[in-house]
């Protein structure tokens, strides 16, 4: 068979709501050759996921397929009788979604569920044969000890491992096409990079075609030979991925590419600046006791934050990066003094917070404000906007008239329309909601804003606008910011100094240009190598990308906690847990065998 395996022609999907219909997929045509990987990019809301579901005829009201054909292996999926459709869906066409944790029944062992699926679409396969097949695939997607994990339920897996399970689920029936809808979106960078590398390896050995959907062109560029660009339901550009990335023809594609932040090319890193210390964190520790499963009263100690020290100076942007489970969130709670450290000291403006009386602590709290990630959950839904912004002032004892005046000033400053003052937050966009949160912090005239993934729920345009707002506020009020984020591009653009966390510790702390251009710690290099970029990555993946996932914080490796995944680990790493060593230029790294800066290496040669 030499023709296309999937040929879509003039496919349209309508959204019917309140008697009106809106076209969300508009006259889409494309073809997919056997074994090909075709990328599909477009912003959120461009209709990618609807298209993906329409291809397997899995759209339901209010969505409706209005016109078109989806010819798969010679049959039009859209006009097949239900029985014939079920012979294709899940069997010849696999589907992987963006929510691995929610894709299987949370109660039942994953192995059992995949076997159930396989036997559902291939009634001829026996139980034992199906089981062997699933075990074999679990091993091929490199899930450690597949025999044991076969019997575990989804909640016992991490997001990355669960996505591997879903890949097995899609591939188990030997499909000739797999639709991968945004599969790396919820994952950490290194895990996402592993998944892409895995799919790339698998499809070469399986000869399966992939439709790889993502909102990020750099992600698609890592795997797809050809790419479709989608805007408002239409395919606006189609071609070889490299060609599209280098020479986009359509203005939409150009805009899409221009919004991808550059990491190395033509970047001027914000230079570290001097100033008085606003926030001082000294050797802070925090652990939690978690009852051991299946025991009466045995507890495990989870060391969430271990021996963290840094200083944030006035007018400085300090970044904290790391992957899920590295202790970022716990550290945020400590910095905002929502929890107190078990050991060490956090001082604000030179005053140790643990020594303050309740009254002066409340007074002090005005000066450091926390902005959260979820713009929907962080606002009271039944309160008018202005009242919401006045509230912090009222709590701190400001009079009503004064509070109203300052709230209005703050609304103007963050760019909220005064007409919104008496409205409820219903129907506001995520960006507008975060502006409300910023205004709520702003009215108290703080010195430090702690931004816990504050921008990660926003799209690129809203993000850029808010970053401008942050810069403007910093210029007028002299704020310091702590950016806690997993988004390296954001940190690259905004932060003067950056700390990289791994398993509760800071493994490297350096100024922006050192960290991105000449990092010393192997973990920092691995993080950078995992970043999807259109430009050449300075840290090529084959050399720097990590395998596996971080060990459990309950059961830390002896010695250096990164050693179990470190490409440079040697014998002494097992014995010594390297302290955060001061390097030239006020930078720090915790590694016994760190990468040297080039001039240092040269200096050694000269001597």
């Amino acid at each position: 068979m030499t023709g296309p395996i999937l040929a879509v022609s003039n496919l349209s999907v309508d959204l019917e709501r309140e008697g009106r219909s809106r076209r969300v997929v508009d006259d889409v045509s494309f073809a997919l050759a056997p074994g090909e990987v075709l990328g599909l990019v477009g912003e959120a809301g461009s209709g990618k996921s609807v298209l993906a579901r329409a291809l397997v005829r899995a759209v339901s009201t209010p969505l409706e397929i209005a016109a078109g054909k989806v010819v798969f292996e010679g049959k039009d999926i859209l006009s097949l009788p239900p029985r014939a459709l079920s012979a294709i869906r899940g069997n010849r066409i696999g589907f992987i979604g963006a929510n691995p944790m929610g894709s299987l029944d949370p109660r039942l062992p994953i192995g059992q569920q995949i076997v159930e699926k396989l036997r559902c679409v291939r009634p001829g396969i026996g139980r034992a044969e199906a089981r062997d097949k699933v075990l074999d695939l679990l091993a091929r997607v490199r899930i450690p000890s597949p025999g044991a994990r076969f019997h575990e339920a989804p909640f016992q897996f991490s997001g990355g491992m669960m996505q591997r399970v879903m890949i097995v689920d899609a591939l188990v029936s030997d499909p000739s096409l797999v639709i991968a809808d945004n599969i790396t979106q919820p994952l950490d960078v290194t895990v996402a990079a592993q998944i892409i590398r895995l799919i790339d390896g698998l499809r070469q050995s399986l000869d399966t075609a992939f439709l790889f959907i993502s909102s990020s062109l750099p992600v698609v560029a890592q795997i797809a030979e050809r790419t479709l660009v989608m805007q408002r339901g239409r395919i606006v550009e189609e071609g070889r991925t490299a060609e599209i990335a280098a020479r986009p023809r359509q203005s939409y594609t150009r805009a899409l590419i221009s919004r991808i932040p550059s990491i190395w090319k033509d970047v001027t890193a914000p230079a570290a600046r001097e100033g008085e210390a606003v926030l001082t964190v000294d050797n802070v520790m925090r652990s939690y006791l978690v009852r051991r499963r299946g025991s009466f009263n045995a507890y495990n100690e989870v060391k969430a934050v271990r021996d963290v020290s840094f200083t944030v100076k006035a007018g400085e942007n300090f970044g904290i990066v790391g992957e899920s489970g590295c202790g970022k969130s716990t550290l945020t709670r400590l910095l905002a003094w929502l929890e107190q450290p078990d050991g060490g000291r956090i001082a604000f403006l030179g005053k140790d917070l643990s020594h303050l009386s309740a009254r002066s602590l409340t007074e002090m709290r005005r000066s450091f404000q926390l902005l959260l990630q979820d713009p929907y959950g962080s606002l009271p839904s039944g309160m008018p906007l202005q009242r919401m912004i006045e509230e912090p002032l009222l709590i701190h004892g400001v009079g009503r008239a004064e509070a109203a005046k300052r709230a209005q000033e703050a609304m103007a400053e963050v760019g909220l329309d005064m007409e919104l003052a008496d409205r409820l937050p219903v129907g506001l966009s995520a960006g507008q909601r975060q502006r409300i949160n910023i205004a709520r912090a702003l009215v108290l005239k703080p010195r430090l804003l702690i931004l816990d993934e504050t921008l990660s729920a926003l799209d690129q345009v809203e993000q850029a606008e808010l970053l401008d707002l942050f810069n403007r506020l910093q210029a007028t009020h002299g704020f310091s910011y702590v950016f806690i984020s997993h988004d390296l591009a954001l940190v690259r653009r905004m932060c003067h100094r950056i700390a990289v966390m791994y398993l509760g510790r800071i493994v490297e702390l350096a100024d922006n240009s050192t960290l991105f251009e000449q990092p010393h710690h192997p973990y920092t290099r691995a993080l950078l190598s995992a970043m999807p970029t259109l430009e050449d990555n300075r840290f090529p993946r084959p050399r720097y990308l990590l395998d596996g996932e971080p060990p459990s914080p309950i059961d830390l490796p002896l010695g250096c906690s990164f050693r179990s995944r470190c490409p440079r680990a040697q014998g002494d790493c097992e014995k010594t847990d390297p302290p955060l060593l001061a390097l030239a230029g006020g930078n720090y790294a915790a590694c016994l065998h760190r990468h040297e800066a080039p001039h240092e290496e040269e200096a050694v040669h000269v001597e």
Partner: protein, 326 residues
């Protein structure tokens, strides 16, 4: 191993709860007005006899002392003896103090154990009837939200919840036993006497089950793994029976635990109306006669049942959903 440690923890917690309940009941009963010694010997007895009776029963000691000695008996399984009930079962509360026909008084535990099977039978039949109606209807309602099964479930639930049980009991008796002579209504002389009160009780429980099940099925049906199931190739019936129902069962099981506890302890009105010789009727009579040991015994017994049922419910829920192992 896990189950053992779970049981140990929960039973210890349960013991603490029962101890608290015991203390509260014991204290409350002793501070309310009404002298049991006077009640036992009868209104005509001279004061000395009352004092003597109080001494004999230990009622003249301070309340904390009484409580400790009661607890001591309790751990040996002795719930005490009824103040007023003789072993034969008849009540002698009002009879004369020197009546020669008075027999030895009945053990509280025996009284409870004698009536418990009746109440268990009533509760089981009521629960079975309720489940029979509410599970299919509630599931359908959840599968088709906003369509006719959902509306039907809502209508039936509303009607049931707004029907007063004593009224329904009387009306059913009037039609089914007096007019149509289909079922017996008053007293107990065979299994058929259970059916009418069970229907009335079922009507009381049905709306709770309906509501819980409709909501939880509808919620589970919106989950990603159910939405994805047809794309993964699972048939609709398979999705519903092996995934949707299992996941919606947890709230229902928790509800049933509470309902069963209520059925065992709280069907006072129904048993009274139908003169059904169960735990409820025993409770009412004990209260009317100020039979302290009996009231205490029943209260403690019911709280033990409550604790046991809840442990059992949690165990079942854990088997259905291993995430609940904490």
């Amino acid at each position: 191993m896990f189950v053992l440690s779970f049981l140990l923890r929960r039973l210890l917690q349960g013991a603490l709860i029962i101890l608290l309940v015991t203390f509260i009941i014991f204290t409350l009963l002793r501070v309310v007005p009404g002298d049991p010694a006077r009640l036992i010997v009868g209104g005509m007895a001279p004061d000395e006899v009352v004092v003597m009776k109080a001494k004999e029963l230990g009622l003249d000691r301070p309340i904390p002392v009484q409580f400790v000695s009661y607890l001591g008996d309790l751990v040996t399984g002795d719930l005490g003896t009824s103040f007023v009930r003789p072993k034969s079962g008849a009540s002698l509360g009002g009879s004369s103090f020197d009546d020669a026909t008075r027999e030895e008084r009945a053990k509280v535990l025996d009284l409870i154990l004698a009536t418990l099977p009746m109440t268990l039978q009533l509760a089981a039949v009521a629960l079975a009837l309720a489940l029979l109606v509410a599970v299919p209807l509630g599931t359908l309602g959840g599968l088709y939200p906003g369509r006719w099964p959902d509306k039907l479930a809502l209508a039936i639930g509303s009607i049931c919840v707004s029907t007063p049980n004593f009224w329904l009991g009387i009306v059913l008796t009037l039609f089914l036993s007096v007019k149509l002579k289909l079922l017996p209504a008053i007293g107990y002389r065979g299994f058929s006497y259970t059916i009418l009160p069970a229907i009335v009780l079922a009507v009381e429980i049905v709306p709770f089950i309906l509501r819980t099940l409709t909501v939880s099925v509808a919620q589970v049906m919106r989950e990603d793994f159910i939405q994805l199931a047809p794309i993964r190739g699972l048939s609709r019936s398979r999705t519903i029976f092996s995934h949707a129902l299992g996941n919606s069962a947890i709230p229902l099981i928790n509800l049933l635990g509470v309902q069963l506890g209520m059925l065992l302890g709280g069907v006072l009105v129904i048993e009274f109306i139908f003169d059904y010789p169960g735990l409820g009727l025993l409770t009412i009579n004990a209260v009317l006669q100020r039979d302290f040991p009996l009231i205490q015994g029943i209260a403690i017994f019911i709280s033990v049942m409550f604790v046991m049922i809840n442990v059992l419910v949690d165990l079942i829920a854990m088997t259905i959903d291993p995430r609940l192992e904490y």
